[in-house]
Amino acid sequence: MPLENDRIFEGRIPIRTHVFSDRDDIVEMAKKYTEGIAGPGDVICLAESVVAITQGRAILPATVKPGFLARFLSLFPGKDGSLATPPAMQLAINEVGMPRILLGCAAAAVGKLLRKRGWFYLVAGRQLAYIDDVAGTMYPYEKHIILGPKEPQKVVNLIKQATGAEAVIADVNDLHRVDIIGITNPDLEVHVVEALRDNPFGNDDQQTPIVVLKRSKTQD
């Protein structure tokens, strides 16, 4: 698809993959699926959830035993829709520890009074915003809770080493909000955000967790 507003990329190529699991190596997969397509200057974009899945961070809620605090805190809405179930909240507590979760909740309460959103994640940890609660992800992981990817910057650096192309790990939500979680060349961030805004990673019928942004040949 041609990108209207900015010509730094001449095309955006989503690649249909198999369903990733923790037996896949994400760097190897990025290399295999973009072979002959992505070269120096191009950008390989990965959906954050599949990076996390290959790292074994898809968790079946039945295997999590939510404690009292997780049950209690998950009753409060306004955390942007995620962490709504007790097991997801329990996993958040496991990730950053109970004190930071409680501080985050306190910050969220103050934020609410001041009509500021997002203070929970600001204090409790940005990575918690990348926890996809049940049904937030594609088949066959819609029954799982998916934690955010581990060491995203290291992963994108390894992909660049393996392919020669730039690499990005991004989270795109239904409201067209794009978060760049890891990027090899930060100068490209604004362009990548624009190119991913309408979520080319698609839903589960369009299973394309890898997207290559082709750099225009006419420029630089």
């Binding site: 001449e10 190529i13 690649i15 249909r16 198999h18 998950s74 049904a135 019928d205």
Partner: protein
Amino acid sequence: MSNGLARITNWYCRLTEEGGQTFSEVVIESTSPFPYRIERPGPGTLVLVAEALANAHPDTIIVDDGLVDEVSLTIPRTGEVEAQVKLEADVVWEHRTQNSLPFKTILRFERSILTKIFSHKTIVIDPGHGGADFGYRGPVSLREKQVTLKMATVLNEILRSFGAETFLTRQQDVSLSWQERLNLARQKKAEVFISLHTHWAPDAKINGAAVFYNPIMPQSEGLAREILARITRKGKVTGRGIAPSWSLTELGRIAGLIIEPATISNWVEEGLFRSPDFHRKIAYGIAVGLEKYFAQQEGASYAS
């Protein structure tokens, strides 16, 4: 880019509209144009053989859009890729390409056969509960009355695109009696009445879909079975079975169904009920089930 063969990167099926007609399109995306030929090995099957490499993972997409059943990609040997399209019926088709990046090779199938099946068919869709009647509540506080309205809205759009005449018992958060809901179906002389609900069970482990039918309308049972099969396949939920419901007998000769696509008290399925993707899949499952039913009815009346 690469000096060799084109690389196929993605493929999918979509619905499009042009000049008041609707089409199912199988789109194959690639890095550049590739030579291809089209074969027809048998009725309802069409194969596009491409001289290209596949970066896309070869597998099968279950489309089930009422016309295209599924599309499979295979690699018979290096440098050759086959896209096989399985259709519910042999229809008028054409192929075209679109010069963009990615390059698109498109197989286009005319859907007028569907509009023929659904024309003059009246379907009343009833989003369960509403207003002061909240229906069941999921463990993360999703309300049945909200889910049923969302699913009904999607189902309504899809059935209209198939060419059916549809009526909703409610389009807003208002309360209606069961009697008022059934009355609309009788008033409109509907062929089918579909009431959407969610299952609820005290045991949070219970999950799955069920369909209830009007026992005094004999064909209702087959329709219920067809729809349950479609929604479990498409929505990937387990089937809890079909059963007669005496609350539907007042409909007389109208095929009446109460559909529970999943169980709201199971919080994994409550999560599914929040997903627009799930609503769409369930709606397609119901619509394609209806298509099979109407096609059979016509077949039966031609035969007699």
